[in-house]
Assembly symmetry: C2
Homo-oligomer: 233 residues x 2
């Protein structure tokens, strides 16, 4: 089954932006009327425990849901801890009512962005692919089978850098809920088994430098930890 | 071998923008200092002979290399005929000298864009994924084995809409040559066997409406046709 092995076999990563109200306030962005998203290549996956490869001349940051911050030099780019939905079967024009049946499981992910490509980005109005698509720029947890998650709309996401909490949010703060995300994306492009949908990130921004240690957790309402991701910059 | 079956097995499409000098002039854009690119999902492939599915409420256009035109309402978006490079093996940090060995073959492709998402696009500064990622928005030829192409830097690309020529260019007009494209993309993200790199489009813009017939050809310097793509809107 490809869903369990989504890191090796999945074809695409669809990353939703601006999906947490507080984070949008933080970035002074308007709330979108419908979900916005972009693609990351699956070659950006980094299994938990690895090292983020910071390319020469690039400052890596953890990245919130809107890389619109990239076009404002006064705002640092950031790193995002996000709930990922692992698609279980071919999904095209899926209704919200049918969406849940298309999810095989979950994963905890981090969406990394290269900050000092910011000038290029401004010039081009074309930020997404290069600044978010580097190899190792999507650290990822183990696969979480759906049966382990009682309520995906009430999960706590945390991110710490060198032991200091930078993000602490809950999926109940999402503007567009999971069924709406599946509906919207699948109205534009077919989702296939093993594809990953990143659902956006709560508030919290920060930067990392080589040597920094990042730890993220996903916890349910009962306090049970469902997944973790750790890596070194 | 995955390269031959890239439409089914490939994981990503890397599309280079603004790579033909005349087309940049046409769009009043500055020539970029390095290649720019974005991702299209492989679910957007449409084998030649098919029908482009124009989503409800969307006007489909053929698209030149810079969707920057999307942010200028006075400029129509357009459809691009492009030479595609089919990657033959894992490519990371490939030098220009080594680039050719990473190409297994070629294909002729069309890069489609949805025009009336333009307003959303302007608001978001986030055009690429949704407007170019619809299912069927990358019509594609059969695989062309490398042995059939003596000189990839001297191939003629044509595109006709309802029999009228809209694009007629040659790959010798590329700003960034094929080895430079492979070098640049592979410095950011690993290219895998079966990935497709679209190399940009020559000048020529136009729009299509349902019922229009599009025909594209790829011809070498001797006049031999190497591939064709045809589809109906
Ligand atoms: Mg992809
Ligand atoms: Mg994100
Ligand atoms: Mg193009």
């Amino acid at each position: 089954m490809a869903a369990e092995h989504f890191v090796l076999r999945g074809k695409k990563i669809v990353a939703i932006g601006r999906n947490y109200a507080e984070h949008i306030k933080e970035l002074s962005n308007d709330a979108p009327k419908e979900p916005m998203f972009f693609l990351k290549p699956t070659t950006s996956y980094l299994p938990s425990g690895g090292n983020v490869q910071i390319p020469r001349g690039v400052t890596a940051h953890y990245e919130g849901p809107s890389a619109l911050s990239l076009v404002s030099p006064s705002k640092p780019t950031c790193l995002a801890v996000e709930l990922g939905l692992v698609i279980g079967k071919t999904s095209r024009d899926v209704s919200q009512a049918a969406a849940d049946a298309h999810i095989a499981g979950y994963a905890l992910a981090v969406d990394m962005t290269a900050r000092n490509m910011q000038d290029e980005v401004k010039k081009r109005r074309h930020p997404w692919t290069a600044v978010k698509g580097f190899d190792t720029f999507t650290p990822i947890s183990s696969y979480i089978p759906k049966s382990a998650v009682a309520d995906p709309d009430n999960l706590t996401l945390t991110l710490k850098v060198n032991g200091v909490t930078k993000q602490d949010g809950n999926t109940n703060q999402m503007i567009f809920k999971i069924p709406r995300l599946i509906e919207h994306v699948s109205s534009i492009m077919t989702l296939e088994e093993g594809d990953l949908v990143l659902t956006g990130t709560p508030s919290g921004v920060g930067a990392i430098v080589p040597g920094d240690r990042v730890e993220c957790t996903l916890t349910d309402a009962s306090g049970k930890q469902l997944a973790s991701v750790g890596f070194t910059a």
